[in-house]
Symmetry: C2
Subunit: 335 residues, 2 copies
Amino acid sequence: MENPVLVEVTRGNRVESRHRGMVVAVDGDGKVAFARGDVEAAVFPRSACKAMQALPLVEGGAADAYGFGDKELALACASHSGEPKHVALAAGMLAAAGQEASVLECGAHWSFDQPVLIGQARTLDRPTALHNNCSGKHAGFVCAACHGGVDPKGYVGYDHPVQAEIRAVMQHLTGTPLDRDDCGTDGCSIPTYAVPLKALAHGFARMATGTGLPPARARAARRLVDACMAEPFYVAGTRRACTRLMETAPGRIFAKTGAEGVFCAAVPEKGIAIALKCEDGATRAAEAMVAATLARFFDDDPAVADALMRQADHAMKNWNGLPVGDVRVTEALRG
Amino acid sequence: MENPVLVEVTRGNRVESRHRGMVVAVDGDGKVAFARGDVEAAVFPRSACKAMQALPLVEGGAADAYGFGDKELALACASHSGEPKHVALAAGMLAAAGQEASVLECGAHWSFDQPVLIGQARTLDRPTALHNNCSGKHAGFVCAACHGGVDPKGYVGYDHPVQAEIRAVMQHLTGTPLDRDDCGTDGCSIPTYAVPLKALAHGFARMATGTGLPPARARAARRLVDACMAEPFYVAGTRRACTRLMETAPGRIFAKTGAEGVFCAAVPEKGIAIALKCEDGATRAAEAMVAATLARFFDDDPAVADALMRQADHAMKNWNGLPVGDVRVTEALRG
């Protein structure tokens, strides 16, 4: 199946580049509300499923034992920019479990956000694992292990109890059996499991609605989704799409990006969740796709729908600030 | 026409992302030696045609008058990383014409190369126009104007004599009539003209072979191509694809990237040139495509062909240095 062109990038009066992709929105029963492209294709959710991966932190009691509030839970679900507040909070989560940064197995990298990177370059010799965009997720893994009496060493491994429990959570939420054959290694070294795009959306719809989940899991899932919506800065950061999308309609939109053009989102009040992937892995296109797809579910609130469409369709400027073209979604994602 | 998938990005044992594109190789007569996808589609060459845009600098006598050698001519054709040697040479070119950085109209930006950016952040308050990747090209424009007795002010404008002359050069080399309807604004504010991909390749084949060009233009074109091949660092920089490709077979490969997934290249000894565009604008894919396409023309030199294919197909590692997948060209670009 050919995936349709969902986003165009223009220059002058021409289309310069085109992005194909697949998008699906489903409700808690898995009923499809909107679909474009091959939504049965298996995709690696990458960081878009961090809220699923954070469930053991809450369900096992570590979050309560360590006194974690919305900020800590949001950071456990985050791909953050390594801003000072992100780094300090990740360190604080580890400290609550009596751990230090050296326990983290995610590797280190400079911020992906240029202004933050420049600030880091001026104040750091080199970044640490705390600056890794995944440090909150990894701190959550370590906290879950420590609270559960499990040695965190090797927690990124497929066979470690932390990853085994996450695999079970992912299978349950997505209804998809997962094994080594479905497994890739993520940028931060943990397993990532290929699941059908529709199943991924269904997993987030279950998290947002609780449909079909045992009460404890439903409560933990909604607590994580609500924490992200309450503290969008801690899910991403300044200038970042996830933060901006959630700030567009506070408490009404959950949104989380993943590498290689993945995005997951939910509108809990509408009982739906969205999963999408840009075929070529482009973040700029995935961001436009998720904004336009979210807008469909705010047809009863034009201010929110318009604000989302301004994120889907936007001008590009050059180094002199001159408009040179647009990023815009195609008819396939409109109206 | 659907463009074929030319590059795949894998993770674990799955294809995670796919890049479509069009590629064409032609000789000096415009005869097609290799083609994939819609090679008649009009594309903005962006920075890939900088060697064409540098022709007036040589043809008008400015390069000789100001004593420019291979390094200066390579920088005039460059999208450089803003490394100290690039910045100093751009300033030197302007000084030769009695000008300073304030004459440049390209805007300023931090280096696109992370290690260079970190060095800049630690030594500069902010980047200047000399750090712009296009500063050598713009310095060349200013030098051509000054030597020709033309006020450089406004040299980025469509109607300025500098851009009018470049437009005439582009029309001649590509055999394509160009006007405002074909014109977009580039990142550095100069006009960029949409031309059929095959015509763009033909223009570079003419430059590399001189076929059908007046002797003075043929000499100037070959001088620029040779300068880039002689000084590949000044065409791009440390860690950069253009530099690496040209260093793979010194004096035998010309290669120049452009934004939004464009690449042009030539193998002068074989009398051919290549133009390609990744449909979605991805640089990682365009780099793989050009390396694999160049390799086709070194079937008589397996060491070069193998070195090029190692640039086309390569492993990706994560923050811990673990292999997570590959970038690789598809069968459409092999053998």
